[in-house]
């Protein structure tokens, strides 16, 4: 159902994009780009620190190539991804700071009027590389016309599992639906090789799987008009399911923060979890032979689909914003263009073995997704991404509700049995209504 709607939307967006493109400039399929960076420009970039080493290594190589080609000095600062948001906020508030900030999720929707309009660049890139995926537009083209940032991609969160243990539990492949998934989790727990999913305030891991499980059963935080509808029979079903699922988890998941499942998985204590490709990357590049050997047994899968057929999931969306206060808007645009072009973006994706999935359709052909079949599930992270504020508009309310862990707390309360599913849903409804001011 939702896939159909999605396709329709995409088709609609395609038509709209074609209609608004400046046809005068584009005579053939080749997109054109005319931009002359300011003389003597200098750029400061603030980005989240790498999750995988290959990312920053190649990123800095690309930056050096840019500096060499254009003679523009670029300083890159790294901050832990959760610290970028406050820094970016300060920059937006005070009107001073880095020219470009690589942020996450709905950052750009908190201060759209402080960001440089990059519609020309987005159109150029979109035209050249087969179009932007819907999620990119949902976050960064909030009014349907103007782009307030350039999508960088998404750190896909997928099912990470131990092939041998899943097989030993009687499953030849990773289940495609929620019923099969629950059966597998039960079988794994019975074999004393349980899975585990974070239920603490793990900004990345807990938010991603908790949104998936609610969506899989048709629940959602708000409807299109921004009315909170989380307290619904669909959500209750999802919560009852979560409760059963929780019974199969390794102990302690209520306290898990983002690094917990990585550590437990690499130590061989859990057989299934949800995560970025970083666990696999860590195992592959580990100097410890025991952990290194684990890599062969690790595989990935997309989330199982719920009764309604949806396996929509939330992933950590990554954006690139240019702030209006920059003295060198053209140089900043040029920088983003350069970094997004095939020659730079392709090697960068490869160096980080696809930790960041591409936001442009043409990059699906990048060999990183096929060179190792285990990478494949992460390929469509942006294509299939559903923003956490689904099905409403993104902005303060969605960002606030997400940061307040309303969805995670609800699932954790119901799963752990500290509240009944109904109570948990009611409480989430009340908490969310405060953000979406009824």
């Amino acid at each position: 159902m939702s896939n159909k709607r999605r396709d329709l939307l995409k088709a609609g967006a395609g038509v709209a994009a074609a209609a608004t493109l400046p046809m005068i400039w584009v005579k053939d399929a080749h997109a054109q780009w005319n931009n002359a960076p300011e003389k003597g420009a200098k750029l400061r970039v603030l980005r989240w620190s790498r999750f995988v080493q290959g990312d920053i290594d190649q990123y800095m190589k690309n930056v050096a190539a840019f500096s060499k080609k254009y003679g523009i000095e670029v300083r890159v600062d790294n901050e832990s991804w959760e610290d970028v948001r406050p820094k970016a906020a300060v920059a937006a508030n005070t009107g001073a700071g880095p020219d470009i900030i690589l942020g996450t999720n709905d950052d750009a929707n908190l201060y759209p009027e402080k960001l440089l309009d990059v519609t020309d660049l987005a159109n150029y890139l979109g035209k050249k590389y087969g179009g932007w995926y819907d999620a990119g537009a949902a976050y960064l083209r909030p009014n349907g016309k103007n782009w307030i940032g350039i999508p960088l991609g998404a750190a896909g969160s997928m099912m990470v599992y131990r092939e041998s243990q899943v097989k030993a539990a009687g499953f030849d492949s990773f289940p495609k639906d929620t019923d099969g998934f629950l059966k597998m989790m039960k079988a794994l727990a019975a074999k004393n090789t349980p899975g585990g999913f974070a239920l603490g305030h793990a900004t990345g891991d807990a938010n991603t799987w908790c949104h998936w499980v609610v969506w899989a059963f048709g629940g959602k935080m708000v409807d299109k008009s921004g009315k909170v509808v989380i307290d619904s029979p669909e959500t209750i079903k999802a919560l009852e399911y979560s409760k059963e699922l929780y019974g199969t988890f390794a102990p302690g998941t209520l306290s898990w923060l983002d690094p917990s499942n990585n550590k437990a998985f690499l130590d061989g204590q859990i057989s299934v979890t949800n995560n970025g490709i970083s666990i696999y990357y860590a195992a592959k590049t580990s100097k410890d032979p025991k952990i290194n050997a684990l890599a062969a047994d690790i595989n990935h899968a997309v989330y199982p689909a719920g009764p309604g057929g949806s396996n929509a999931a939330f992933h950590l969306f990554l954006n690139q914003m240019i702030f209006k206060y920059t003295k060198y808007p053209k140089a900043a645009k040029e920088f983003l263009r350069f970094m997004m072009e095939e020659e730079q973006f392709g090697p960068w994706m490869q160096a980080s073995i696809g930790y960041v999935a591409h936001p442009l359709a043409a990059y699906a052909k990048n060999p990183i997704w096929t060179s190792d079949p285990k990478h494949l599930p992460y390929r469509d992270a942006v294509k299939e991404l559903r923003p956490a504020g689904y099905d409403g508009k993104l902005g303060y309310a969605s960002a606030g509700a997400l940061a307040d862990f309303i969805m995670v707390d609800m699932v954790a309360e119901a799963a752990s049995g500290s509240k009944t599913p109904k109570e948990a849903a009611e409480r989430a409804q009340k908490r969310a209504e405060r953000y979406y001011k009824v």
């Binding site: 508030n93 201060y111 603490g200 793990a202 209520l254 898990w256 954790a412």
Partner: protein, 301 residues
């Protein structure tokens, strides 16, 4: 002539010398505090200056179950941790006041937990409390005492107590060393006089040590309560306020709402709500513990 007399005036000169300190205080203390309080009365969001909305934020917070839970958590955390820190700190101070071998070395070691950056010690505690890798659970399982790892940070009440334990571990040295300094200012002649009068050690403690120590206790415990009430780092590293918001303190919730959540006004209001409690703590220690008459052996009138 005029100018020299201007600078010769002691009052003018005094004021002039006060200016740098005054400017620093205004700039870095009064202004942020004022701004924070003002923000609490606006609907400021990240990237957008707010408009005055009166007490709406406060009304919102009072009706908010998570904010109320955080108030309870904060009070529980502060009271339990402060009482423990005082008891253990005083005990430690009394022990250290005796003549021990390697006295100064031991005193230096006692201070260590206080010197280590909180974030660092919190990570050590994380290792102690981890649900999969807890060194405590590991030892107990190896000894065959338990069969399942203790869910230190996963069970709401256990998580509260675990974070309190970490806070106490960190806070005791400050209390102990400060009280030790206080103990050493008490004149030995008082103890001599009381033992000539036939006082038991317990009577000495009750009638000499404690009254003489109260001014220091008042200051130390005021600081200790303030630090505990506004604790942030420890919780942020250990639990992020989880599980199920059981360890969310007002400071951590204020950050979560204000910065990652973008609701600056609400975060500021929550921080402002901490002020009355802090003021109460200060007033209590100053008026409650600074009782001169009692210190001088009389009774309160």
């Amino acid at each position: 002539m005029n100018s020299s007399s201007f600078f010769d005036n002691k009052n003018t000169l005094g004021l002039l010398f006060l200016v740098p300190a005054g400017v620093l205080l205004l700039l870095f203390l009064t202004y942020p505090l004022g701004l924070g309080t003002w923000l609490g009365f606006t609907d400021a969001k990240i990237g957008r200056t707010g408009e005055w909305i009166g007490i709406e934020n406060f009304q919102f917070l009072i009706g908010d179950s998570v904010a109320r839970l955080s108030l309870f958590n904060t009070l529980f955390y502060t009271v339990v941790a402060s009482v423990l820190k005082f008891g253990l700190g005083l005990w430690l101070a009394l022990l250290l006041n005796h003549h021990l071998p390697f006295k100064s070395f031991i005193r230096a070691v006692v201070l260590l937990p206080f010197i280590v950056p909180t974030a660092l010690s919190a990570i050590a505690f994380w290792w102690i409390y981890d649900s999969q890798f807890s060194v405590v659970s590991w030892t107990l399982t190896k000894m065959g005492l338990i069969h399942r790892y203790i869910d230190f940070l996963g069970d709401p009440w256990l998580a509260r107590l675990s974070t309190i334990a970490a806070n106490v571990w960190r806070g005791v040295p400050f209390v102990a060393i400060s009280l030790l300094a206080g103990l050493q200012t008490i004149s030995p002649s008082l103890y001599e006089a009381s033992s000539i009068d036939g006082a038991t050690p317990w009577q000495q403690f009750w009638h000499v040590t404690l009254p003489m120590l109260t001014p220091i206790i008042a200051v130390v415990m005021t600081f200790s309560v303030l630090f505990t009430f506004t604790d942030f780092q420890l919780i942020y590293v250990l639990t992020r306020g989880g599980p199920l918001n059981a360890t969310h303190l007002m400071a951590t919730l204020s950050f979560q709402r204000g910065i990652p959540g973008g609701a600056l006004g609400e975060g500021a209001a929550l921080a402002t709500l901490m002020v009355p409690f802090l003021l109460a703590a200060i007033l209590f220690s100053y008026f409650g513990l600074q009782r001169r008459a009692w210190q001088q052996g009389g009774s309160d009138k």
